[in-house]
Amino acid sequence: MTVEDQRGGVVSKDVSHYDKFPVGMRVLAVDDDPICLKLLETLLRKCQYQVTTANQAVIALEMLRENRDKFDLVISDVNMPDMDGFKLLELVGLEMDLPVIMLSAHSDTKLVMKGITHGAVDYLLKPVRIEELKNIWQHVIRRKKIDPKDQNKSPNEDKARHGNSESGQGASSLGNADQNGKNSRKRKDQNEDEEEEGDENGNDSEDPSSQKKPRVVWSVELHRKFVAAVNQLGLEKAVPKKILDLMDVEGLTRENVASHLQKYRLYLKRISSVASQQANMVAALGVKDSSYLRMASLDGFGEFRNLAGSGRLSSSTLSSYAPSGMFGRLNSPAGLNLRGITSSGLIQPSSQNLSSSINTFGKLQPTLLPSNQSAGLYQGIPTSLELNQLQQSKCATGIGDFDPIKDSTGFTVSGSFPDNRVTVGSSSSLLSRASSNPLMLQGNSQQTHKRGPFGNQSSLGVAPLNPESFDLGIGGSSNFVNHNRSDESWQGAVQLSRFSSNALPLSEPFNHDQMASNNLGISSTSPHIGNSPIEFPSTNVVSGRLEDSGDVCQEGLIGNVVHNMTYTSKQRWEEYKQDYNPNMNHSFSDINSMVSNSGIVSPLGRSLDQNSAICGRSFDVSLIGQLNGGSLSNAHHSEFENSAVDAKIKSNEDCLLGQTKSQDGFIQNGYESLDDIMNAMMKREQNQTLLSDGEFGINAYSLGSCI
């Protein structure tokens, strides 16, 4: 199991535990209060779990980092002296992708909300009852179900299924925690085939009532049809039966459509709220409140997660990426032209509210969406995908909006992309974008966040999200990647998040091309852009490498995400590439070459300096550096084999390493969770348009000169 290998330890281990599971489940309990810790430990032992305790968050993190596979679940107190419980939550979610349960004597709704948005799978009140603890194993199962699915459907899923026959598919693509273990197996096989083809009409019904029915995997293709049908009917009048008829997909039941529709509706609602939130977040970013940002992202993504029920990954990553941070960054670049990006405006004002930031995010999307909606791009993928799409649409729009971009051939192409996308079946692309965007955004936001001067640059990172839109224009690689993701399933929300992570590196290239100079880390990526269409796979590879690079990807999550992305994205990307208008590709290559050549070289030099400056500052930088470094090192971009670029990467890496080591806090901020990443990406998309404006402005220069 390739995909599973990543989590392989967990999965395989769990599998071995499965026959007696939840007996023997390995729990890590964290609480600074010795009384509560002792009580918790005793209670958990009574439930026949294997318990390890830690009275400090940092100790817990060390244990987890040392061997993530040693644990199945983490329970942590909220109020701890050395580290905020939410921060730990995000980090664990991001880095280790383990389910985390929050514990508190406080039953404040806001805190509970915060926990959820940060990616907690549950929130318990003290004193904890043993009955509650007896059920916590479900979170482990649920997570396993989702992850394997995203990564590698068949092998993992089979395993998971075998192990969790009773729990079924905790998080199917539709996010239903169905107890269809058997179905998932069936589905997975189906899905595998289907997904590989990039067209998943895996009809795995998630209908709990029909245990034997395979679960429907809402692939990009399927979702596109769905959205097209909904748009045709009109959202108000869209009834499952009619949608089903319009879609004309064999094996799809009315129930499938109904549940999907429900999710879609929620997703749309969320988008609109997220847009506003994003705006807030962006504003927040300006504040440089990483935690805030994170939360913002979490909020946004949290919603997604909840909505889609996707695995923790998406949400966690998102959450970790303080979207607000991203937004802030996005907005910060001077050049950002909010043309089509309402979010940017939105973001600015409300930095305070995390939730609002999400809203802005949502808002951003909606604005762009309208244009794309017609395209039917917005498929009802409630999860991040949708957001991505929205973002994408936004991005796409944004791209078109970017004047500088327009100058570049690539951009103009992108402008047309939305249309192309639509024709191509962009929904998937949107999805992919969306997914990637969140990640990208996150990455970007982080970057931007940390780097004042790089604000623009960071956007590049963020741009990745947009990259989708860019991708189209630029080389849509990101888009492609995303698509792949979406194809795979919604569950791909996780994937998306993963993808997104890749997107970061990718997007960077894209953005970099434009902004090559600006982004420290990003610039390194820019080279990617040049190669993006082609590079993308490489980027993915890079991502994977990043992951490998141990320390480098400390944020672990990101690496993983990227890694995951590489898996699927690569494939998908190829597929999509073909799908995409060849013209687009051409334009991409044109742009890419141009960008890579001229833009990259010069910007790189600049970015290097900037990078070094930043390295000291923030984790993000290091992350970016990582990504950049990783990507660059791996980059196939021959163009970028500049010493400058390399140097940059190295410096980034150094910074990164140094950063990561010294600044746990930063790291946490950076990649608190996939959710954050996702959120970030999404926001980035939104911001991207924003950023792209700014960035493009910058890039335009370089591009212009290059060209």
Binding site: D33, I35, L39, T42, L43, R45, A105, P127, R129
Partner: protein, 142 residues
Amino acid sequence: MESDLLREQISNMRQSLFVEEILEYQFLQLEQLQDNENPNFLQEIMTLYFRESPKTIAIIDQALEEHFNFPGLYKYLHQLKGSSASIGANKVTKEINQALECFKEGDIQGCKGAVQRLKQEHNILRNRLQSYFQLLRQIKIC
């Protein structure tokens, strides 16, 4: 005989603790957790509580004196609430909640009053439990 008397005494004591609402349901959970693997669980956790909680109470007292150390006050009240609730110290927890309420409303005087009562309840609890455990130990010996 003696052991019977002792048992009766213990039983009465225990019952009164609940009747007077000094202890609540959570305490029963703790008792249930005590088994062969954890023969002294109850006593251990109580010892732990009475070792840690006075420190927290002292910090709370001090925070009240320093009028501007509100974050500290809140944080430690919260922590005390967690541990007190975990052992089933009913009245202590109630006073803590009262103090937190006053704190949220900005009623420092009320908060101070609640903390005073909190300390009293805490002492009462400690004394009662000490006698209770003493009897329990005696019965084990018998």
